[in-house]
């Protein structure tokens, strides 16, 4: 008996970690490989069940250059002058960045290759966005997803930071505000979507007088591509700002006050204190926060599905939703192909963000 207990104790290292490893392995990693295989096949119905026929890269080709590429990548159009300007600026910025790296102190071939990859991929994405956002173009699901991610993150961070900065002041009732501001994060996204659908209704919703005053009384935002997108983005921002708020609040509360006091004694005004002391001190937390939120934001599906069902046409369809609709019509190969491209996009964004921005920011402190 004692030997058994002793053996069990010596196996502690394995007992602690194996369950978690096995669960993740079997339910995340293995299905990933199976999904890769499914993305290279086409589903059809055979005798008594279904058959997966291997078709190679057909599903990917269909999405990128084939009949679905307008849905996925968007409708090309000549970019507007602003579009050309943005593209030019992005290319110039990346060129300057690469040259600075080559000329800089620590130069490594791996680093250069990584930076070139990042620069080219981002330039391609900007090229896609600029082509499709032009007036006669139409963004595909990739473009829409990117719009959602970056616009939402920007507003969530700004609003969260503003609210956090206001809430750290010792004013009566700040506990109330802290609790209230936390609430939207707790609601199921489906519930948020339906609530916002109710609220944004231009005929029966509570803002009807506002719409009338703005002259939009008879219209419906659901008919307009950008109106629908804005509705989805508003819902997403409403729901996830608390996440940024609560973490930034905790970060701001934990910064040391000696520096701030010293700065005040030296005569710094409020803006200088914010820019030179507060911002650098929350920079590491901010980058981690943005990383977490960015990873989650790419997966957005509940809001576009429920609020607009993909929008007028496919205007608000995110990549996850696109994969879901393909699954609904039993095109599991295409669905898996989109899911994989979303995975590649998210991994690429996360890795480049971690390697290029976050390590730099962590080193600030």
């Amino acid at each position: 008996m004692n030997a058994l207990v002793a053996w069990f104790d010596s196996m502690a290292t394995n007992v602690f970690i194996l369950p978690a490893v096995l669960v993740i392995l079997f339910l995340a990693l293995v299905p990933l490989f199976l999904s890769l295989y499914v993305s290279l096949t086409r589903l059809s119905f055979g005798q008594g069940s279904f058959v997966l026929t291997f078709v190679g890269l057909d599903n990917y080709a269909k999405l990128l250059v084939g009949i679905d590429h307008v849905h996925f990548l968007g409708l090309w159009a000549d970019p507007s002058p602003i579009g050309w300007l943005v593209l030019g600026l992005v290319i110039l910025a990346f060129a300057w960045w690469l040259i600075r790296y080559v000329r800089g102190g620590e130069f490594a071939v791996g680093g250069l290759v990584g930076r070139i990859v990042v620069a080219s991929v981002v330039t391609v994405l900007v090229w896609i966005m600029v082509q499709t956002i032009a007036n006669s173009g139409r963004p595909g699901t990739v473009g829409v997803t990117l719009i959602y991610v970056f616009v939402d993150m920007f507003f969530q961070y700004m609003i969260g930071l503003g609210l956090a900065m206001l809430c750290i002041q010792h004013i009566p009732g700040r506990r109330f505000f802290r609790v209230v501001f936390l609430l939207p994060m707790m609601i199921t996204p489906v519930g948020v979507a339906y609530t916002f659908r109710m609220l944004a209704d231009t005929y029966k919703g509570p803002f009807y007088p506002v719409w009338i005053a703005l002259g939009l009384g008879g219209t419906s935002w659901a008919d307009n591509a950008w109106g629908a997108r804005i509705a989805v983005m508003v819902g997403d921002i409403w729901q996830w700002t608390p996440f940024m708020f609560i973490v930034l609040l905790a970060a701001l509360e934990s910064q040391s006050i000696e520096e701030v006091e010293a700065a005040v004694v030296d005569g710094a005004n409020q803006w200088q204190i914010f820019w030179s002391i507060t911002l650098p001190s929350i920079l590491p937390v901010s980058t981690t926060l943005i990383l977490i939120r960015m990873i989650e934001a790419f997966k957005i599906i509940d809001l576009p599905n429920v609020l607009t069902n993909g929008g007028p046409g496919t205007a608000t369809e995110s990549m996850s939703l696109h994969a879901y609709t393909l699954w609904r019509v039993l095109d599991v190969g295409g669905s898996a192909a989109i899911a994989y491209m979303l995975l590649i996009l998210v991994t690429f964004s996360a890795m480049s963000f971690v390697n290029l921005v976050r390590t730099r920011a962590q080193a600030v402190i």
Binding site: I171, T195, A251, D302
Partner: protein, 342 residues
Amino acid sequence: MTLFRPRYRSINTPAPLGMVLTYIILGIWAFVVLFPLYWLVVTSVKLPLDVNRGPVYIPFVDFQPSPHAWIYIFTDLRNDTVRPYINTVVVSLTSTALALTMGGAAAYALTRFTYRPKLGTILTFLACALLAFVALFFGVPWQLAVVAAIAVFILLLQTIAKRFKRSMGNNDIAFWMISQRILPPVAVVIPIYLIYQRLGLLDTWAALIITYVAANLPIVVWLMRDYFQTIPLELEECAAIDGASRYRTFWSIVLPLSLPGLVATFLFVLVFAWNEYLFALFLTGANSQTLPLTIAAQNATRGPQWWYMSVLILIMIIPVIAMAIILERYIARGLLVGAIKG
């Protein structure tokens, strides 16, 4: 004159003008947050006529409130409301408890023990697991597939796997676990659906519980790893000298000390499992349907039935909001530690 004074421990109220501005802005956002919730409550007591004829805001003034929606949901549809509710509660609590146990143990192990898994072992294990699943796909009964895979694994382990000497460390394991969060659910849900179908697990509690545990383990590991790193080793060494086993040390010493982190992680994971929609959509049927699906199902052929939907959304969010209010002070601390250490 400064509008806001920087934050002091002693003098930290802003100048009066700053205070007024602060309250205005905070009040605006509080209104933005609370108005949709108010609208939900109000809509749940409106008659269909009141909902459709235009916006009416205040009960008893603009319209007569009527509890018809609440009565319908709780009596006429009693079983169809209670069953998803019970499903949600059971699935969320069970999967959160399991995720915390497994994830906490794994996080503790990653901070205290040193692992050096060999790359060869990992790859052969992966290959054998894949083999087992493919066999499952093709209809082989799962008992046979598992036994065969284990046999092949042991065989390969003795021969080929020993060749690859390269091994990974604790940080690699932690990074791998946490990076599973990047996985979009749509990428893995199809194979999981097919596997559960072969195993006969579709439309059961077990399917959702296992899936939610797998989806939430990365968060648990991420957050708890940092908490465990803050617990000094000396305490555990004392316990070891006194003869406590590893399990005893973990259970009696480390866990109570990391209670704030545990509470924050518990709430976070519970909220995630409570609100989850995609996996529930794919993997459940009529028996194990959870509340988010019931809400989405109120979108009937005559248009969404806002009154019923409001009632359902309210009964779904009230427990979570109550928990959030009670446990609010833990959440910030828990999330912050994970964010700072990264």
